[in-house]
């Protein structure tokens, strides 16, 4: 334990059965760069932050420094290990897991009816996208076809969720870069969207509204007026942000040319969503592979730019809000009548009024919400475009009422890996802009 890196990480002694320890040792043999260790590139002398300072005339020495997990601009509990040469980042390594709550394990213990309550807490900034992808996966295993109103309502709600998520990004991104009034403005418009979602679903976040088999309830009377009002407010807000930031010289100084990434890098690292689109590659699952949602019937554009820097990712998210507004307006105009859930007695609980008059309906309701419904054996992978990129659900059923395996491919989990090439060679202060522009949601990364 003489080298400074292991003193920094302070590994605790291992405990467990001999086989387990043998397994762990095998792990260590295979590792040359541990999760908690960062191997310096220019190893002449490594100096720990707070440790003895290097001789100033030694140009080769680098410094290892931890950013996070409690740093305010790391959006939750992201930790990044940085190797610095004075102010310049030589390498960056994201360390995750601080918010791991075992949601995939929990998902195996919950019935399919309860499942959407669990997944909605993963990407907590756009919960409806999680519920949607889970519900679509379950419905795919059940071979259920959704009525048109369900598909349109889902599309509208997911777009509203995207607006809320991107408005949150505008707020925090502005604050991270010193435009502190943005946090007030972004929150103001996001709150309007959340207020509408609260009227529809009953909750501001973690709605549990999109469920396998349809939705929890129908839209309230007069929802058209409410949602159009929200659209107007959001459009005004976006115009305001655009006026404030897009031509602001300080903003441009902080963002243009910072954190560049190429299309090849983004594709190789599995980055999706605004990061991939900012490199000049117009890939959006809403256009190319819209699973069971009527995106082909509405008119909207895929926003993409070609510089791959922080400014482009900001612009893409800003204008995507307007595209979502466009989709929501079309949903208001064209929302088909009909049922808000599929009428399949296997998955749909009886209407509330029937429970008061029918014993069978009561039993049916009780069984659905205690045992849940059984899903035939099989496996499926369903992906939709969440505000952060491709969110996928890999679901394996063994024929019982609970999933055998529930895996969510979180876009932030993959997008985080693209942060390292963006940060290398930039200044530490730009690092904050880069973290913010990747827009990671740690609940989804750690699950």
């Amino acid at each position: 334990m003489t080298d400074p890196i292991s003193r920094l990480t302070g590994k605790r002694p291992r405990h467990g059965s001999p086989e387990q320890i043998a397994g762990e040792e095998r792990l260590e043999r295979q590792t040359d760069e541990g999760a908690q260790e960062l191997r310096p590139t220019k190893l002449k002398e490594v100096v720990l932050a707070g440790g003895p300072w290097p001789e100033m005339d030694d140009p080769g020495s680098t410094m290892l420094i931890n950013m996070g997990p409690q740093h305010p601009s790391t959006h939750g509990v992201l930790r990044i290990m940085l190797e610095l040469d004075s102010e310049v980042v030589i390498q960056a390594k994201p360390v995750v897991g601080y918010l791991h709550t075992g949601m995939e394990k929990t998902g195996e213990e919950l019935t399919y009816v309860q499942g959407s309550t669990n997944v909605t807490r993963m990407d907590y900034a756009s919960p409806l996208a999680n519920e949607l992808v889970f519900s679509l996966a379950v419905e795919n295993l059940l071979d259920l076809e959704m009525p048109p109103r369900v598909r349109w309502m889902r599309m509208m709600l997911v777009e509203l969720s995207r607006m809320a998520s991107h408005l949150l990004f505008q707020a925090t991104n502005g604050m991270d870069l010193g435009a502190v009034s943005m946090i007030i403005y972004g929150w103001r418009e996001r709150e309007e969207v959340l207020r509408f979602l609260e009227r529809v679903t009953g909750l501001r976040m973690n709605h549990n509204f999109i469920r396998p088999g349809g939705l929890a309830a129908d839209l309230h009377d007069g929802w058209q007026e409410d949602v159009l009002n929200v659209c107007d407010l959001v459009e005004e807000g976006v115009q305001e942000y655009d006026d404030l930031l897009s031509a602001n010289p300080i903003w441009l100084e902080r963002t243009v040319g910072v954190g560049k990434i190429t299309t090849e890098q983004a594709i190789a690292l599995g980055a999706t969503g605004p990061i991939l689109r900012s490199t000049g590659f117009a890939w959006d699952l809403r256009k190319s592979q819209a699973v069971d949602l009527p995106y082909d019937e509405v008119d909207f554009d895929v926003i993409y730019t070609s510089n791959g820097d922080v400014f482009d990712r900001y612009r893409i998210r800003l204008y995507e809000i307007l595209e979502s507004v466009k989709i929501v307006r079309q949903c208001v105009a064209r929302m088909p009548p009909g049922d808000y859930r599929v009428q399949d007695l296997k998955v749909t609980p009886p209407p509330r009024a029937r429970i008061d008059e029918s014993m069978e309906a009561l039993i049916h309701h009780f069984k659905l919400f205690t045992e849940g419904f059984k899903v035939p054996p099989g496996e499926t992978y369903v992906a939709v475009e969440s505000p952060r990129g491709e969110i996928g659900c890999y679901l394996v059923s063994d024929g019982t009422g609970k999933p055998m395996r529930l895996h969510i491919r979180g876009p932030s989990f993959y997008n985080l890996q693209s942060m390292a090439p963006m940060m290398e060679g930039s200044m530490v202060a730009d690092g904050v802009a880069i973290i913010s522009s990747v827009d990671p949601i740690m609940g989804e990364v750690d699950r």
Binding site: Q30, D32, K105, E379, Y394, D398
Partner: protein, 189 residues
């Protein structure tokens, strides 16, 4: 196996017949390149069950010859106590499965590859040199299932603490419970 059961239609020639070529062109190419691969269409999605030995070679084949530009996801499934497992002829099932989901941007299609991992030898070749983006995903599988990826540059725990013992997503790793304490259980009260 199914071949030994007498067939009612009486076509004895068909007993050893080659199964119909898969409806998916990529899967057909995979079957031609890697004999022994089994094709399955799962709810409209093409799935190929490949041998564990060709796992990394298959990834290179998909990227270099079939234009599969992105590996969306690598994950694993523990089939311990799985009563309802889909039984395909030609697949020798093991307890663990490693699953890869691939996406081709130019061809706008997906394919899923699955390989079986026996309990005695929990390792698969890493595809992180072909698709660097699976780095985190393979670490996650190692962390939660204990399946090692040979050739991975940095195979360490990612979600669990470094000194954690066990692999929590395995079916024989029970979820923890906090015991319920009743008032009368506490003698000091």
């Amino acid at each position: 196996m199914a071949d030994e059961t007498p067939r009612e239609d009486g076509h004895e020639d068909d007993v050893e017949a080659v199964p119909a070529p898969p409806s998916d062109e990529v899967a057909a190419a995979v079957l031609e390149r890697f004999p022994g691969t089994v094709f399955h269409e799962s709810h409209g999605q093409p799935v190929v069950y490949v041998d564990r030995a060709v796992w990394a070679e298959l990834a290179r084949f998909l990227r270099d010859e079939q234009q599969f530009t992105m590996c969306m996801d690598i994950t694993a499934v523990d089939h311990l106590l799985d009563a309802g497992r889909v039984d395909l002829p030609g697949v020798e099932y093991e307890r663990f499965e490693v699953v890869g989901n691939f996406l081709s941007h130019p061809r706008n299609r997906r394919i899923r590859t699955i390989c079986q991992v026996p309990v005695g030898e929990l390792s698969v070749a890493s595809v992180s040199d072909t698709y660097p983006g699976v780095n985190f995903a393979e670490r996650e599988v190692w962390d939660l299932y204990g399946i090692a990826f040979d050739g991975h540059p940095d195979l360490t725990r990612i979600l669990m603490p470094d000194d954690w013992v066990g692999h929590p997503l395995r079916k024989d790793d029970p979820p923890g419970r906090i015991p319920v304490t009743f008032k009368e259980d506490n003698p000091n009260r």
